[in-house]
Structure formats: structure tokens, C-alpha cells
Symmetry: C2
């Protein structure tokens, strides 16, 4: 898989590698099989080993890498930290590509403590920025996703990922991008290209066409810097959990939740997960009881849910703001949920501190293991909502892993290393009960037919839409289960398109499913833009290019 297709290409690759070694030094150009294999690890069973890995240290390195690649027509595949979990990790979409690992470019170039923004490079991780803000006593938090402390802001944002604070709709918190185009030119968006502009990182649009969107979910260039807005630390902060007893209780609550989101009482990005998501965070699939299936029988699932003391769905979120406002919003949330069977739990810091003490006590005494776990989950949740990233929520990915959780499971979980099977299908749905009910039912039927549990989360990404994530968890060490999972993914994505709910983000495997017809003017326009911004087609060929891409070549 990792080999270059023909002798001519192999020759130019060698020549390009020689130039890159001259540019970066031997140590920053990896070609050893073991290194390449490491980058090829994936949770999605769509491994594509690169032919080499380059590790630039600066924007200028990236420019030179691109110029050399252009000359030799060698395809490059930029990654930030390579943790695009559930969507393809660090893997290129096609074979024969040279990974550009931007992890060394991890400078926090600037933080403005008055206006509340950071200027960061692609290697800057959630943990790094979070710790920097705390150490420097800067009165702002960073938005966090559940992808873990080592994931990159830029990597996530160029995929249009989202977090869970009021700044969770992350693409709206970027101002001023620096992009090395496929031509090798350096583009500064917004006001950034005006010498001495003082407004590059506070107003994204600049003057003239607004281009930032072009460098999200695309392959036109390599983003080497962004301005990222930070969340002002509120006077008061209160995370909450809501447990909905049954599906109907969640569906019944959706109109009220939408009303609260529209009125900006809920002004962060609440996360709603089904019981399976919660169960998977507490331990792996009960293989011993069920050696021959990857799906929990309904009765057992009900029983596990009861034992864990959870409902069919759990919503998590937080309130931010002046003290009196947080009090008011707490009351409004409780009022809004009066009509359904839902338990609302507020987790202000006083409760969490007490809880942590109780959890430690339980651990020491070896009692109530479920309680300790719950309290740790609540703490992780509160952290994530207040700028402290956590790897806690990644442990759900071990659901189908043989042998369950690894002994060294910690905050630095590397899902790809552990050969997990994990694929995410993420459609956008209107924030309406009926859409959610129908899509959940259709997806559950499809998962059931393939023999899988349907893990679901639903995120209130904006005031009108839900970003749903249907997760296939499978045993990647079992060939048959893997084949079922891949089939489930492809059928699932097709089903979502055909029902009118396209996915908002594609995995390496999903790229070929993006275009409904060969002559879709949208994807034709994407091809036209590619021809201008990356005329040799060297940046990440196949990435966010439609099915018609294959026909073109």
C-alpha cells in the first residue's frame, strides 16, 4: 500500500527527499518502515501508509517543502497532530503521499490578554494552550473538544470540529489565517495582508472576498497560523447534567431545548449522548457474557442502564455569566423540562470538590466503584466546559477492544496506537424531535442489521441545528466484524444522504461518497478553485474532493 506506483515517480520522490533532507536535516525526514507504520495506524481500518514524513519547524520550511513538492509533483498530506479520531486519524486519503507533520510548529506566538485572543501554530494542543493561559494568569479559557489534551486546535478547526463552551462553534472564533497555498505562496486572510494592520485577529472578514472558509474541509493549502478567540472567564460557571428517562422524554424536551438555545439561555454547545455512550465510558462491552455478538440485547442494555443509574439519554452543558444570570438560567432550564421525565443535576465547583473528595475516599475504601467513576466523569466534564481538556471521554472508544481498557489508560490516550475500531457518521439534523426520532430509528435499524450497537451523540451546534454523531464501535482485530463495520459505514452515509441529512464532515473513507452526481456544480467549482490555488494538485489529493475526482484522473 505504501509504495509509489511507478519507477518515474519513485525517482522524483528520491530527488525530492534529497532536497527536503537538505532543507530540514536528516532527523526531520522520516522514511523508516517503523516510522511510516506509526503514521499509518488508524481506527477506521482504512490505513494508508505515507511514503515519507516531513517535520517542518517553521512557516518558511513549509513554503520550501511545497515548492520542492511542486517541482517534483509529489503529493503532500499535512497533519497537525494527526488525532482526527473517528474520521481517519493521521492517514492520507490516497496512497503514495508524503505526510507533512506540523507538530513541531507549536508556538503560541502571541496572547492578547486584553482583547482575548491567541495566535497559534498547528502543533499547539489543547493542553498546551490551556496550561499556558493558567500559568500566565490570563483571564480567558480556551474552548475544548472531547478529543483529548494532545489534539490540535488548527487540526480540529480546519475540519470544522466543534467544542462545548459558548465558543464551541469554533470556525466563528478564528480571525486571521496564514496559509501556504499549493502554489507555494503565503496568503494572509482578513486584514493580515495589510502591513501593520492592528485588526487582523479581532475581525475575521477584512475587506474584499472573505476566504477563510476555503481552507476548511479542503485541500487548497496548508494553514500555518490562526488567530483564535478565547472565552472570557465568567463571574460564575455551572456545569449541569440532565438525564432523560426514555427516548420520548428527550424528544418531548427538544422544542423546549431549542427555545432555550434560541433565547441564548443555553448559549454553549450542549452534548446529549445515549445510554450506550455513557456505558462505554464506564467499561467495555460484556464480551464474556456475549462472545458471539457486537450488539447488546435490549434487556441487558436496559439492565446495564439501570445498574449504572442513568437514563436513555444524558445531556451535559454549562451556564456561564454573571452570578445572578447563572442562577436564572438554572431555574429556566428546570422549568423548561417540567413536562418530561428528566433529572437535572447542577455541578457547581463546591459540589465537584466535595465529590472528588468522596471519590478518593471510595477508591481508598474500595466501595461504591460506580460513584467514583461518575464523579470523575462529572469532573472531566466540568473541566472540558471550562477550558481544561480531558482524555476521559475517549475511553468509550475501547467498547469493542479485546481485553478492554489498557493498563496504562490515561489522559494521553492514543486511540490509533491501540488498534481500536471506531468510525463516526456525523449528519446535521434540524433541531426538531421528528427528525431526530426518524434518523435515530433508521440508523439503529441499520446498525442492528449489521450487528452493532448504535452509539449516538447529539450536539446543539447552533440555534437551529443538531450535529449528530452515530458511532460504529467494532473489533478491528476481527476481520469479519471489520467488514461489517465498513459496510455499516457506507450504507449509513448513503442512507443519511438519501434521507436529506448529509454529513457535516467526512472520514478518509467518506470522501468518495460526497458527490451525488458527477456534474454537481458545487464539486465542479471545488475543482476549479483547486486548479488555481494548487495547480499541480500536490496538497492532499482526494481530501474533500468528490467521487468525480476519481473520474477526472
Amino acid at each position: 500500500m505504501s509504495e509509489v506506483a511507478n519507477p518515474e515517480q519513485s525517482l522524483s520522490l528520491s530527488a525530492a527527499l534529497a532536497e527536503w533532507r537538505g532543507l530540514l536535516g536528516e532527523a526531520q525526514v522520516l522514511t523508516a518502515e517503523s516510522d511510516l507504520a506509526r503514521y499509518a495506524r488508524t481506527c477506521s481500518s482504512s490505513s494508508r501508509a505515507p511514503v515519507a514524513v516531513l517535520k517542518p519547524g517553521s512557516r518558511d520550511d513549509v513554503v520550501m517543502i511545497v515548492r520542492i513538492a511542486r517541482r517534483y509533483k509529489t503529493p503532500l498530506y499535512p497533519i497537525s497532530t494527526g488525532q482526527n479520531w473517528g474520521y481517519g486519524d493521521a492517514c492520507p486519503v490516497l496512497d503514495g503521499q508524503v505526510i507533512v507533520d506540523l507538530g513541531r510548529m507549536n508556538r503560541i506566538q502571541k496572547v492578547d490578554r486584553e482583547l482575548g485572543y491567541a495566535v497559534i501554530e498547528p502543533g499547539v494542543t489543547q493542553r498546551q494552550l490551556s496550561e499556558y493561559l493558567a500559568e500566565q494568569n490570563i483571564p480567558f479559557w480556551c474552548d475544548c473538544t472531547g478529543a483529548g489534551p494532545n489534539s490540535s486546535f488548527i487540526g480540529n478547526i480546519v475540519e470544522r470540529g466543534f467544542g462545548h463552551t459558548p465558543y464551541g462553534n469554533r470556525v466563528q472564533t478564528v480571525s486571521g489565517m496564514e496559509v501556504v497555498l499549493g502554489t507555494g505562496e503565503v496568503l494572509e486572510t482578513g486584514f493580515g495582508h495589510y502591513p501593520g494592520a492592528k485588526t487582523t485577529h479581532i475581525y475575521p472578514y477584512g475587506v474584499g472576498p472573505f476566504m477563510d472558509g476555503l481552507f476548511t474541509q479542503s485541500n487548497f493549502g496548508i494553514v500555518t497560523r490562526i488567530g483564535l478567540w478565547l472565552l472570557p472567564i465568567p463571574e460564575s460557571f455551572c456545569p449541569f447534567l440532565v438525564m432523560f428517562a426514555e427516548d420520548e422524554d428527550l424528544f418531548g424536551a427538544i422544542p423546549e431545548l431549542r427555545r432555550l438555545r434560541m433565547q441564548r439561555v443555553l448559549h454553549s454547545v450542549p452534548h446529549i449522548g445515549n445510554d450506550l455512550r455513557a456505558l462505554a465510558s464506564a467499561g467495555p462491552f460484556p464480551r464474556n457474557q456475549l462472545p458471539n455478538t457486537a450488539r447488546l440485547p435490549l434487556e441487558l442494555r436496559q439492565q446495564m442502564r439501570q445498574e449504572a443509574g442513568i437514563g436513555a439519554w444524558t445531556m451535559s452543558g454549562a451556564f456561564y455569566g454573571p452570578r445572578a444570570q447563572v442562577r436564572l438560567h438554572r431555574r429556566l432550564l428546570k422549568q423548561a423540562l417540567r413536562g418530561v421525565r428528566a433529572k437535572v443535576i447542577f455541578l457547581p465547583s463546591s459540589v465537584l470538590e466535595l465529590g472528588a473528595w468522596v471519590a478518593r475516599l471510595c477508591d481508598r475504601l474500595g466501595i461504591l466503584p460506580g460513584l467514583g467513576q461518575k464523579i470523575r466523569a462529572a469532573k472531566a466534564l466540568a473541566g472540558m466546559h471550562s477550558g481544561r481538556p480531558t482524555g476521559f471521554f475517549l475511553r468509550g472508544a475501547y467498547w469493542r477492544k479485546r481485553g478492554g481498557w489498557p493498563a496504562d489508560l490515561n489522559e494521553d490516550t492514543d486511540l490509533a496506537r491501540d488498534a481500536l475500531g471506531l468510525m463516526w457518521m456525523a449528519p446535521i439534523l434540524p433541531c426538531r424531535a421528528e427528525d431526530l426520532r426518524q434518523v435515530n430509528a433508521a440508523m439503529d435499524a441499520l446498525f442492528a442489521a449489521q450487528g452493532f450497537d448504535c452509539h449516538v451523540t447529539v450536539n446543539m451546534i447552533n440555534e437551529r441545528a443538531l450535529a449528530a454523531v452515530y458511532t460504529i464501535e467494532y473489533d478491528a482485530e476481527d476481520a469479519k466484524e471489520t467488514a461489517w463495520a465498513l459496510e455499516c459505514y457506507e450504507r449509513g452515509v448513503e442512507e443519511l444522504y438519501s434521507r436529506g441529512y448529509p454529513i457535516y464532515r467526512a472520514s478518509t473513507r467518506g470522501m468518495s461518497l460526497l458527490a451525488p452526481t458527477v456534474d454537481d456544480p458545487f464539486w465542479a467549482t471545488v475543482r476549479g478553485l483547486k486548479a488555481v490555488l494548487d495547480p499541480e494538485g500536490i496538497i492532499a489529493p482526494g481530501r474533500y474532493q468528490s467521487r468525480s475526482f476519481a473520474y477526472d484522473r
Copy 2:
């Protein structure tokens, strides 16, 4: 000015016109001098008469118009309602263009009363949508700008204009664009190009590159439809005014106002105008007293300010939300302004209704004319903040008009008709007192040197930035004053760039000032995109193309 440059072009124009007449019918193709003169009216003394005006009735008409224009290489200049006041009105940037007046395309194609969005065409005006929502009893308001009831949403949004409600940052309230490209192809952005997609108007980004930004401040295509998010009518709504006694009081308040904006206590787009803005809304420049100058002497200005009972600056805004939250936000605003000389006036509907009654009474009795005026201003303001557009704030544009306000001045004010002189320079500033102080001082010095009053408004466009507008009001019927004004504009824009505060929006005259150097990679990229999206360069040549555009031709 309005003539075509050479006989060959004239021949192709005739041929194109014949085809357009066949397509649209005689009545929708205007070439009479009087019609062309009407479209050439402008407040910016940069009139460019078109060579013809086309009035399509549908998206398909636009497609055919573009295809014909492509064949004959006839430049088109799309306008929605042509009310780009202060920035060039309906005028093309260059001579020899055919205006495509989209005003007949004024269908409200859909309103979703549950999810709160409208799907509208370019001719839909603020008044039209506002009245439709009220008549249909739809529980949403539309965001309004001060540009008057007849201005177009799409026209304003593609210029990245802003309004003053919580949905005032208008580009963030658009989801799903339909664009006729310069190629004649129809592009649907976001999820719109997926047949049967149910999420086009609730999640703007779709999957793949996000392109909407390309069709703002550009000349790549003609936007024929957008999805526009509507503001849910809040439980409680309270407009407010804050009068700052002197400049220092505003500057002193800026950090506190920024804090409130960041904490989303101020979560709309407050508008802050200097005394001149308020004086200009109340009556014209005192020409009788001052026949030989266009600038008020400081003493007179102070005196007029005192007589009008206003401060150096007046901020207007509104609170929206649950009743208890509005009460809280009112208190927090008052608290935040304790350290400066500022008078806070809240205008809940009860006060406004009483006020309107008092105003009518005063009018009938012929007493207290100032009071009636103030109450009308407050009502207009409250309307604008709650989805009812007003032409009230346009009357300030008559400041230098000979003879003052026209007898028929009403809500439908057409500034271009009245041959006013009005040019806006709109830089973005960091939301910091020091930047505002310095830029205000520099601009006032420049205006003074040119002999003009410096009318200023400052809008808290987002949580970190101010959109300032420095307005040159001049007597367009006086050649000397006009020449000074044009010089003031060009010097002002240069000054803003050189100080690091580029403008966020250009007038027809400002297009040539956009590029600092010929080889700016940003504007080179714009040229590249133009070549793909509009290969014949027929859409609005010169619009948001940089100075280098001229060199290219």
C-alpha cells in the same frame, strides 16, 4: 461618461440588448437617457451611468442574462435595490456596464416559523420582510440596519453590512446561498446542492470548502437567494440610550463596555454616535449663521449640544431575553458606567407609548419641538432594534443640503434622488479606548483641515472590535466643497491604512485604494479566483478588485 468605448463594443452591446429584449421583454430592458440618469444618481460624486438596465424576474432570467453577457463580453453590474448609501448607491465602479436590477426578484420564498428562517430573493426589502412576519404572526423579528425600509437584505449582506440586534453581525445569519456564477452556472452553497437536503438553511457550512464568504465583497457571481436567520421575539425587550458627557467619559467607559460585550450582557450591536450625528438628525447645518464654512466652530457646536440636551456621545442598544435577565442586564449596564459621567435612559414599551402620546400632544399644541423630536427618535430606535426598519436615521444625510430637509421627507427617503453629498469611511478598530481616541483625533484633524465636521459612529460589531464610520457630509451642489470632500475621503482612507486600521468596506471610489502593493498575494489570489469563477470578467469589473486590477488590463 456613459458611453461605450469603441464601435466594436457598441455593436456587441446592441446585439446583446436585442437578445436581452427577446428574453425579458422590452419593458424590462431600459436604455432611455432618463432611466440611465436615474440609476447614475449618487451621494458620492462618483457617478457612473450604466449603458443599460436589465430587470430580470427570476433566477433563470439571471442565468440567461449572464450567458448572453458572456458571449458578447458585456460587463454586468448587479444591484439589489441600489441603496448602498455612503458607499456608492447603485453606481457601477467603472463606465460602460449594464446594470442588472434584481428588484423585481422580491419573493419571500419560504419562512420556517419553527426553526426561524426566511428564504429570500435580492429584491426583498427590510419593510417587506418585517411586515410579512407581523402579518403572518410569525414569532420572529428581522434584524434591521439604519439604511431605511427600502433597502435589501441581500444587497446589504453581500457588502457585509451589519444591523443592531443580536443578529446584527449579519453574515453569521446566512445559511445556504444560491449564486449565478460568472460562468452562468448556478452554485448552491452549504448543503443546498444535495438534492432533498433538509439542512440547507440551518447550518451554513455544508461539507467540503465553505464558500459563502467568496460572494461577499467580491465580483464572482450574482447572489439570487439566501436563507436568513430570524431573531426569536424575546419575552422581554428594552431599548436604552446612554449619553456620555464628554469624549473622556466614552473612552473611560470602553473597557467596561467591552467587558459587558464579551460577557454577552451586551449581546446586540450597540451604536455610539457623536454629538454631530445627533444634531444632524434634528436639523441641517446652520447655513444662515455660517454661510462660508462647512464646519461648526467649537463654541457653537458646544452650544447646540447643550440646547439639544445631548452629550458628546450617545450610545443606543437594547436588551433582549427573559424578563429577569433584562432586569439584570439593565442593572449591570448602570453599574458598569458608574465611573464615568453617563446618563442611562431605558425605553421599555410603556415609556415609549406614553412618550408617543406626549409627542403628539406637543405637536398639536406647538410646544416643546425638541421633545417631540427626541421621542420620535427614541421610537425609531426601538423599532429598529425590534425588527421594524426606519428611515429616521437617514435624515442626518441632509446636514449640508441647501434648503435643508425636503418637504416630503418621510420613511422612504431616497438619498441619491436628493443629490446629497455623503461619503463613509469605515475602519475596524480594536475595542480599546486608546485606538479610538487616536483615530478620532487623527480623523478630526484631517476633516478640520479640509473644512468639514467629522461625524462619527462607532458600532460594537463583535466582542473585540469596533466598526467606526467617519462620515463626510458635503454640499454636492458646490463644486469646491465637493472637491474638498473627495480629497478628504482619499486622504482619510490612506491615513487609516497607514495607521493600521484598514476599512472594512469600500465605496466605489475606495476600490482603487484597496491594495498597498501591486504584488499583494491576497489580491493576486482574488484575481486567480476571478479567472475561474468569472473567466470573461463580466461581473462588476473593478468591484473589490485592487489597484493592480488597473495595471492588469
